[in-house]
């Protein structure tokens, strides 16, 4: 861009208004097939650092579809997705892989830990993929996270030797291993009983508070949704309700952002 004036490039971020991590503009998604299934009808969403956002909606309303698009696992039919200000439609396959590695962490309903690896190795997996090997500092950091989610004595166990809740907590640490800006969680407590589900949610909430990483969590559990900073309800392909907005602003100002470990 040609600029004739000497405007400083530095962006001024207003205090108390954390930067936008993911932003969508006119996001549309239709699944084309024998019958075309229109799912999302043009969503404008802003997700900021440090916030904990819950996405709710009926089954089949398009929650997973939205989350997959936000994490660059799927592409929208129309509209743009900006992650850290970068339009992800401009990225090639390797660029998308790097984005999934460095900017985003995923948690799914199933833990998807690799059976062949221990809890610690699984938690380190995003680093191993990215760098071939975890450095000692990475190892230390991830070990601390595992301790914090209560898996300090489970690190050498394989997924089939741990409970569903333990596996899901390991998956949370794995999602955070590469220190992403945002974690996208698709019904992370969906496979768990209410007690371990609540535990897992608390862990996520704690990670969010401590590290400031934004969380987007799809849930069918109203109590968990109410505990988020903000709730996004998807209905008929649109966002019809955003609640907890005032609450969110309060949390932003009050929550001190500490780096973990």
């Amino acid at each position: 861009m040609a600029s004739t004036t000497s405007t400083p490039i530095t962006e001024v971020i207003p205090i108390g208004d954390p930067p936008i991590v993911i932003e969508t503009r006119g996001l549309k998604k239709t699944y084309f097939g024998k019958i075309d299934v229109p799912v999302l009808f043009g969503l404008d969403i802003e997700i900021r650092a440090r916030e904990f956002l819950a996405i709710v909606g009926q089954s089949g309303s398009g929650k997973s579809t939205l989350l997959n698009i936000l994490g660059a696992l799927d592409v929208p039919t129309a509209g743009t997705v900006l992650v850290n200000g970068v339009d992800i439609s401009t990225l090639d396959e390797d660029g998308l892989a790097r984005l999934r590695s460095d900017e985003v962490g995923f948690i799914f309903q199933a833990h998807y830990l690799l059976d062949e690896f221990t809890c610690l190795e699984n938690a380190l997996m995003p680093i191993t993929i990215r760098h071939g090997e975890a450095s000692d500092e990475d190892r230390e950091r991830v070990l601390k996270l595992l301790e914090r989610v209560g898996l300090g004595d489970q690190i050498n166990k394989h997924p089939d030797e741990m409970s569903g809740g333990q596996n899901q907590r390991c998956a949370i640490v794995r999602a955070l291993a590469n220190q992403p800006k945002i974690v996208l969680a698709d019904e992370p407590t969906g496979n768990l009983d209410s007690r371990s589900g609540a535990e897992v949610f608390e862990m996520m909430r704690e990670m969010n508070r401590l590290s400031g990483v934004a969380f987007v969590m799809i849930t069918h559990d109203d109590r968990l949704a109410q505990a988020a900073d903000r709730i996004l309800l998807i209905e008929d392909g649109n966002i019809v309700e955003i609640t907890n907005d005032e609450h969110k602003k309060k949390v932003d100002r009050l929550t001190p952002v500490k780096e973990l470990a």
């Binding site: 999934r100 995923f106 998807y112 191993t128 993929i129 071939g132």
Partner: protein, 420 residues
């Protein structure tokens, strides 16, 4: 505390491939029966290749040794295909009588030629020979025979006679002594110590005492006399008409013959020209060995490809989560190529060891020895380290090629589709 495996990986695998290597190895380790089956498929392919090549090339080797040990490898003579110096077992009529009284064409500077030939590379032995057609007789009925006169010590190296003796001797052959084959001895009804008469195609005649009788087991053989006797029988004075060569590498005779013809004015005839049919048969054996090898490797490649495709299907959710964690397509496909490579290296090593062991064990039993001869192996197995290495290499290459299709399939999987 790092596990031991990690230390090994850190030492051996470049950092950029450690994730792929580690995952591939874990897949193999956790693959159990699947891994064992694919390794067995590769091993079986390599066993077949090692075994078949050892056996067929061993057979080929034995055939060419048997074929060439009793004949000159190159025959140098004045340009004139007649007289045929040795009997062609494929064409027994070649020992028929040449009814021409013409003088044999002689090599005038033969001692120079012999000295020169001795100095050529690949040449191991050289013998100057007088050879022509004649009639052997005892009383009436003369029988056609090829007469060969040469220094017994030299000729015995090139066309072994002593080895095949049934009675008498050849080495210390003296003037007016002759060694004949059992056929002729039977036809003439003579034994060692009796006298026979030889008439040459140049119509010279002489009497000889039978000093030895040999049996080469292949049709009618020549009658051997001293060089001097043959020279006078054929009226060659002190000349010879043929020079026989023995070489180290029996397959390199064409080049040698060509250079001899370039260096002298004489015709050099390699053994391969008289035995082209046997040679073609041996080449066909070689080709069949290569074909069997290729097909068995292709068969094991199919086995590996199908097992890897199943493995990709089983691991599709895992591939999805890895991609969601930022694994690139190339990383995913590398995992499966490494998996194939691991199977290939282990399988081909096992195959090489087992195949060599089988070939070795087969080389041990021998046929009951024929009197006076070394016992022959029942299976003429020849273990060729180069072919074992090539078999392993070929197995590794085909396995990696077999892994490419499943690997690409894995790389293209869409995480959203495989993680529902």
């Amino acid at each position: 505390m790092k596990p031991f495996g990690d230390i090994v990986i850190s030492a051996l695998i470049p950092k950029a491939y450690r994730f792929e290597f580690r995952l591939a190895m874990r897949h193999l380790l956790s693959g159990g029966l699947q891994t064992i089956l694919t390794i067995s498929a590769v091993a079986t392919g390599v066993i077949i290749v090692v075994f078949i090549t050892s056996l067929i090339f061993g057979l080929q080797n034995m055939m060419s040794v048997l074929l060439t040990e009793s004949i000159p490898h190159v025959t140098v003579q004045v340009e004139d295909p007649k007289p045929k110096p040795i009997e062609d077992p494929n064409n027994p009529t070649s020992s028929r009588i040449e009814v021409s009284a013409s003088r044999l064409k002689f090599i005038d500077n033969w001692d120079e030629v012999v000295t020169m030939l001795r100095g050529l590379p690949n040449v191991s032995d050289v013998a100057a020979v007088v050879s022509g057609q004649g009639f052997a007789s005892k009383g009436a009925n003369p029988i056609g025979v090829t007469v060969v006169g040469a220094d017994p010590e030299l000729l015995d190296v090139i066309t072994p006679i002593t080895r095949d003796l049934v009675s008498g001797r050849y080495k210390s052959l003296s003037s007016d002594e002759i060694v004949i084959d059992t056929e002729l001895a039977k036809d003439l009804n003579v034994t060692v110590g009796e006298r026979i008469r030889l008439t040459s195609s140049s119509n010279q005649a002489d009497s000889f005492t039978v000093a030895g009788i040999y049996n080469r087991g292949q049709g009618r053989g020549s009658a051997y006399v001293t060089l001097r006797n043959a020279q006078s029988l054929f009226g060659l004075g002190t000349s010879v008409n043929i020079v026989y060569l023995k070489v180290h590498d029996i397959y390199a005779v064409d080049d040698l013959s060509n250079s001899i013809m370039a260096l002298t004015k004489y015709e050099a005839r390699p053994w391969t020209r008289d035995y082209s049919r046997n040679l073609t048969n041996m080449q066909m054996m070689g080709i069949s060995a290569y074909l069997i090898s290729a097909f068995s490797l292709i068969a094991s490649a199919f086995a590996i490809a199908s097992v890897l495709i199943v493995s990709v299907l089983q691991k599709s959710a895992q591939i999805g989560i890895l991609k969601s964690m930022g694994a690139r397509q190339s990383q995913i496909s590398t995992v499966f190529v490494f998996q194939g490579l691991g199977v290939a290296i282990i399988g081909s090593s096992v195959g090489a060891v087992v195949g060599t062991a089988i070939a070795y064990l087969l080389s041990l039993p021998t046929r009951p020895a024929v009197a006076g001869q070394e016992p022959l192996a029942l299976f003429p197995v020849k273990i060729i380290p180069l072919y074992i290495g090539l078999a392993m290499l070929a197995a590794i290459i085909t396995t990696v090629i077999a892994a490419v299709l499943p690997a690409r399939r894995a790389a293209k999987l869409n995480p959203v589709d495989v993680m529902r």
